[in-house]
Symmetry: C2
Subunit: 329 residues, 2 copies
């Protein structure tokens, strides 16, 4: 049986060169490549492995699908993924699909043409592709779907915390700005909040939003105070919406948090620079990205995976859009 | 001389299949690939072109180097690049170098290993690589460097506008928070401002910042008002810094814009949600990304390029951190 040394001798090159050809890495002159291939064929050196190496280079590329990187929740998520992949020599191919299924499919197609070895998706559209999903290792990030590998934060508990904090700090007439129902983590935080509100002795109302964008946030914030002028506690579903609500409340002369308490969700970097600084629920965004990358790399390397669904905890960040409570008496 | 039809006949496959093999596009079974290659060799069909197609696939990948996508200026820049590339079937490989030259080189190396056909860099470290730059089409974005292809906004004029607006709206004691001097567009906005301030009848002072990050912005904002309690006009160099300054001013009881006027730079999406909404200089960020992608694609396709350096205009966005002036009497 021929060895790599035999191939090198036959081709008149070093073992290192043969190795480069086999692994498809580093620079090899075309003529050398031809010579090595001829030697491999002549000596019948492990032909299947060779064919694989020569014609199906294993890439070190991973595809990342996001809804929209200009939403300030996603850059930190992407950095977590990228930094973790980079440590292990993998690189990111990257696309924003705007949750448009056609764009989503186009990105997946070109990711596959560029031979990505794995995929991380933070889009809802991807979760719903079902049979059309590519047959490569895939992790859903900030999204959940039955039977998938997933990394996400505990939205239900996050929603519960918001409702509890608003009630405990004295709000009696609470407004929940509810994000799009088809996005599971957004739905979860709503369900958690309603679970607590329903069992509390407070009034509450729900405003449905079609998106969690800047534009809609500004519009809904205006509607909110004309529709519910007496609301004294607001769960804003994400920090952008909370910023818009805070802006509108101050504009119409409300005192924050005395007249109205506001709690956001995400803890984007800008939240602590708002004035008053925003009380919110912190999702461990960067860590979510890292964990998704770690899980994907395990799948790519066919290592054992113990947890198929990784849920990370959230926490309440108390700043100045909520009233102070005395703890322990 | 053999034709593609001869190759197809010899290999017992369709012309389309041979074409797929030659172009390295679409799915071809390994055995078929072998047969086509054998036929090509046997008939001696345009061997150099073939070798090139088989072993050096032309990718449709472009590398994008950013300092840090979590700085809210960059996501929109990246979207502009991506959306334009996508229209023409190109995809983005993407890396954040944190302006670390080692990380920068590591990214460039792996971009090249993955056969990117062009590069867009928004990092300063890249501008300074000089001889170590890769020999592929490259465009600098939001950065300038002699002899390079560049797309950037008119920072000098931006700086002039800020100084003029502060002075015309009544500030007499102006503080300039100056970003890192080695970043050319940041230096430009400073130079533009100083040019106007120096010829105006006002006092001004300069605070040097080592970065334009959230952390430093918060720290400098606190120092600013203890060091210069009587300042009545602030040019904050970017919107994050402006947000930190606004926060601190309100925290210590200043009335904005009556006591202090504040102008930022960039017009990130969050700026209009601050309260009072931030007056700032708008850079056409998304358009800058698009134009960089268009320029790069021209270079890749060896089309004629008329402008090597594309400078886009900036504009003053008047919101509520500056006083109102009566126009035309």
């Amino acid at each position: 049986m021929a060895t790599i040394k035999d191939v090198a001798a036959e081709a008149g090159v070093s073992v290192a060169t043969v190795s480069r050809v086999l692994n498809g890495k580093g620079y090899v002159h075309e003529e050398t490549l031809m010579r090595v291939r001829e030697a491999i064929e002549k000596l019948n050196y492990s032909p299947n492995e060779v064919a694989r190496s020569l014609f199906k280079r294993e890439s070190k590329l991973v595809g990342l699908l996001l809804p929209d990187i200009t939403n300030p929740f996603f850059p930190e998520l992407a950095r977590g993924v990228e930094d973790e992949l980079q440590k292990q020599g993998f690189r990111l191919l990257f696309g924003n699909s705007d949750e448009d299924p056609e764009k989503e499919k186009a990105y997946i197609d070109t990711f596959l043409q560029n031979q990505v070895v794995g995929l991380i998706s933070a889009t809802q559209a991807f979760s719903q592709l079902n049979d059309e999903r590519p047959a490569i290792p895939t992790v859903l990030l900030d999204r959940t779907h039955e039977g998938s590998y997933t990394v996400y934060a505990d939205g239900i508990e996050g929603g519960r915390i918001v409702a509890r904090e608003l009630v405990n700090r004295g709000s009696h007439n609470i407004t929940v700005l509810k994000g799009p129902g088809h996005i599971q983590p957004v739905q979860d935080r709503f369900l958690g909040a309603v679970e607590v509100l329903a069992s509390s002795n407070v009034n509450f109302q729900v405003i449905q939003m079609a998106s969690l964008t800047y534009e809609e946030a500004e519009q809904r914030a205006k509607e909110l105070f004309s529709q519910y002028p007496d609301t004294d506690g607001i769960f804003a579903s994400n920090d952008i919406t909370a910023a818009a609500v805070l802006h509108e409340a101050l504009r119409i002369g409300k005192s924050i948090p005395d007249d109205v308490q506001i709690i956001g969700f995400d803890d984007i970097p800008m939240s602590r620079l708002l004035f008053p600084a925003l009380s919110t629920i912190r999702q461990p965004v960067y860590e979510m990205g890292q964990q998704a990358a770690q899980l994907l790399l395990k799948l790519i390397k066919k290592e054992q995976v113990i947890e198929q669904n990784i849920q990370l905890p959230v926490s309440f960040i108390e700043r100045n859009t909520t009233r102070k409570v005395k703890r322990n008496g």
